[in-house]
């Protein structure tokens, strides 16, 4: 188990600003159930922590809980033997959520977004839901030799007056449709997600752990040509809130998270982009649209 967990954490290559401690205990004792769920995401439920402070997370696939103290930089995770038997799944969903909760405590706040740096050195952030074309766009940008950070999990951090976005290293996960559009074979099968993973390097790009966003696009997939519509800052903030569900958690951290989203909307030019198939034949189309 230690080998798997260390391999997972090392593989993420997170450059966190201060030490974090993830203590994992395996137990065959019954684990407490959540009293009142305050938030849910696939496979993971959240409740207030013991005494009403911090967070308690519960994996829904097998008994496993984690208590993330308010203000702490360590977390105690209790895994049942059944959870240990499914450690890869547990790591991908439950422990990743635990890590997100822990990173909030050092000022890194989660956003569902892809990140990239274009050939001119401008940072891009692509936000949207699971059907918004983030992964296919990230993979396409990699084929154009852009530097790509992530296709989904980004962490915002205050940096002076601005915002930096950190990413963990993970393969860009494409559905069959995305693979067809990119005409890509190969990759690593990700059976639990029914996707195939590609490292940016597999696609001709380079991984980048940090992006300073200058352009933020909120994407959806359309049938026609790619279009971009500039967004007012206020609308951009509400869009960022939409893709940053964790902003609603924990009273003491929510304002910091919201302030980062607001700062990001001020720092970057923001657009609503409808992605069309012309992107696949016009590598500079996105840049032209926001120039």
């Amino acid at each position: 188990m230690h080998r798997v967990l260390h391999g997972w954490l090392d593989g993420l290559r997170l450059q966190v600003p201060q030490p974090l401690a993830l203590e994992v205990v395996v137990t065959d004792a019954p684990l407490p159930s959540l009293v009142e769920t305050v938030f849910e995401q696939p496979e993971v439920r959240f409740a207030r922590g013991p005494g009403g402070h911090g967070l308690r997370l519960e994996w829904q696939e097998a008994p496993a809980i984690a208590d993330v103290a308010a203000g702490g930089t360590s977390v105690l995770v209790r895994l049942s033997l059944a959870a240990v038997e499914r450690l890869d799944d547990c790591t991908r969903t439950f422990l990743m959520a635990v890590l997100v909760a822990l990173l909030r405590r050092v000022g890194w706040h989660h956003l569902h977004a892809a990140t990239a740096i274009d050939p001119a050195g401008r940072g891009w952030l692509v936000a949207g839901d699971a059907q918004a074309g983030k992964s296919t766009t990230a993979a396409l940008l990699a084929t154009w030799k852009w530097r790509v950070g992530t296709d989904d999990v980004a962490f915002l951090e205050r940096h002076g007056e601005g915002v930096l976005v950190h990413t963990c290293r993970a393969p860009i996960a494409l559905r069959e449709g995305g693979r067809r559009l990119l005409a890509r074979a190969g990759g690593v099968k990700l059976p639990a997600r029914d996707k195939v993973g590609y490292w940016p390097e597999d696609l001709g790009g380079v991984w980048t752990p940090i992006v300073e966003p200058q352009i933020v696009i909120f994407t959806s997939v359309g049938d026609a040509q790619t279009t971009a519509e500039p967004l007012e800052r206020r609308v951009a903030v509400t869009e960022l809130v939409r893709w940053s569900a964790w902003v609603m958690l924990e009273l003491d951290l929510a304002q910091q998270h919201l302030d980062l989203l607001t700062c990001l909307a001020r720092q970057a030019r923001c657009y609503r982009v409808t992605l069309g198939r012309d992107l696949f034949t016009r590598p500079n189309r996105l840049i032209e649209l926001v120039a």
């Binding site: 609603m248 929510a254 919201l258 989203l261 607001t262």
Partner: protein, 91 residues
């Protein structure tokens, strides 16, 4: 006896170039508000009466007392409906 209003403790506000974005962490909903709406919500970090809020708009904006009162009443009704306010009775 007159009512006094205070912002719900679960609200978090962002000032975006004068306009506002409001999160309600309890209901997990979010709202956009105008510049004057943000001004009122910022003032409501402490209990305020209708008259206090009307005076605030009169001090900040070029409006008549009737316009200010109508704006505040409409705003308070919207906020009440969205559970953004807590109402207190003051004697």
């Amino acid at each position: 006896m007159s009512e006094r209003f205070v912002r719900h403790p679960d609200l978090r506000l962002a000032d975006v170039e004068g306009d506002g974005v409001v999160l309600h962490l309890g209901s997990r909903r979010y709202f956009s508000v105008s510049e004057s709406g943000l001004t009122l919500l910022q003032a409501l970090d402490a209990p305020r009466s209708l008259e206090d809020l009307v005076q605030l708009l009169l001090d900040r904006y070029d409006v008549t007392p009737d316009q200010a009162e109508a704006s505040v009443r409409t705003f308070l009704e919207s906020c009440r409906a969205a559970e953004l306010l807590v109402t207190q009775d003051a004697r």
